[in-house]
Point group: C2
């Protein structure tokens, strides 16, 4: 049976999603819980391979399992074996041929900035505390430039395993919620550190226009810290393939 | 100079507000920060002496200090000496005669329940996870009974230092925000564990009507856990006395 898992995690204690020997990762914790819950567990596929410290509200994984609880009881069973920082929000049997990564058509991320002059204990490791005036109109103008197809190589480290640097941004906007400024972005996929470097560049007030056609990394701004970033949703085509 | 401090804290690591030798408390941490910041620090007064594990968004304290930064720089100065779980949100010179506890006319608390079937890592120690159906209409009817003047002795431990058990509730209502149910209450003051025992009793579906005229503690329900409770605001009369 192929399980489709919707997973929330607080990225703080993890060296990102992908298993690395000797380091705590979300993948390793989930694999251990799966192995405690099912007799047989094949390779995990995931929609978003998040970096160290990055959070997820609804990452999606698929895994073939045998010999365990039925899908409707899998979330509760897995949660008893997971640390508090990881929760299976939903578990269901996947449609035939569905693959968490290959079937995904888009990923949505949120980057959260907390703008109050004084810090909040409830924002620790949940947002980037940037207690200085940020111009929402200027940020919105910058976000508008991002929409569409661009070469984003200025927003990823120079030493890279990416071969293609063009990505298609479907949605990019800034929204104010009280003392928070949230950057919401939806794209087909992302370069490494791309969302955080876009946010750092916009927050520094650097003009994005000359950077969106394959400029050097040095031309862009700093990379915003990981604890403001959330993988919010993964989109799939209607037939779930 | 008398300082008026507005304080936010995550109650998780503290044995409540009030200093107790050998235990971490908010008062002790704040006093230590004050003593690092000012040459002379008198007794602290506070509007809400919160219990172990209870949070505050805007508790209010007053303290007479000498020989340190001016009021407009006091919040930043104190925050550099406070643990991340405590933040001075605002510091100002208090009006003459203003006292954080004696001048307070009302305190508002929020109790947060998280109702989703599966837990969330972002709700850990921030709300009471109660993954079962709660009837908002029935809760709202119960809250309506609380408004006005009642003898609340059923909602505080039998062994008590309180001598008067009558309190005046100005506002009591339940509000749904997505997967959260928030109980919002404003009263002149509270008995120990009163808000948490009201919430536990309402969540258990126990009829409040016979309990509001001095019933025994045994007639009420359980005491909800501290990590769902937030001191949200303290009200003062317009002249700030």
């Amino acid at each position: 049976m192929r399980l489709r898992l919707t997973i929330a995690y607080d990225g703080t204690p993890f060296r990102g999603w992908a298993a690395q020997p000797g380091h705590p990762t979300v993948e390793a914790a989930l694999r251990a819980a799966l192995e405690e819950t099912f007799a047989s567990v094949a390779t995990l596929a995931v929609a978003g391979r998040t970096d160290t410290g990055v959070h997820a509200l609804a990452n999606v994984a698929t895994v073939d399992v045998e010999g365990g609880p039925p899908p409707e009881r899998a979330a509760a069973a897995l949660n008893t074996h997971l640390p508090d920082e990881i929760s299976i929000v939903e578990a269901a049997e996947a449609a035939p041929g569905f693959h968490a990564r290959h079937s995904a058509t888009a990923r949505s991320y949120r980057y959260r900035i907390f703008t109050r002059a004084t810090p909040s204990p409830f924002e620790l490791r949940r947002s980037w505390w940037l207690p200085r005036p940020l111009d929402l109109d200027a940020l919105s103008d910058a976000a508008a430039l991002l929409r569409g197809e661009h070469d984003f190589r200025a927003f990823t480290p120079t030493e890279t395993q990416h071969e293609v640097f063009v990505r298609v941004v479907e949605r990019a906007e800034w929204i104010r919620h009280g003392d928070h400024l949230d950057f919401e972005i939806t794209a087909d996929s992302y370069l490494r550190h791309m969302v955080r470097t876009l946010v750092g560049t916009m927050a520094d007030g650097i003009d994005l226009a000359p950077l969106l056609a394959g400029a050097d990394r040095a031309a862009a701004g700093r990379t915003a810290p990981p604890w403001g970033l959330y993988l919010v949703a993964v989109a799939y085509s209607a037939d779930g393939r």
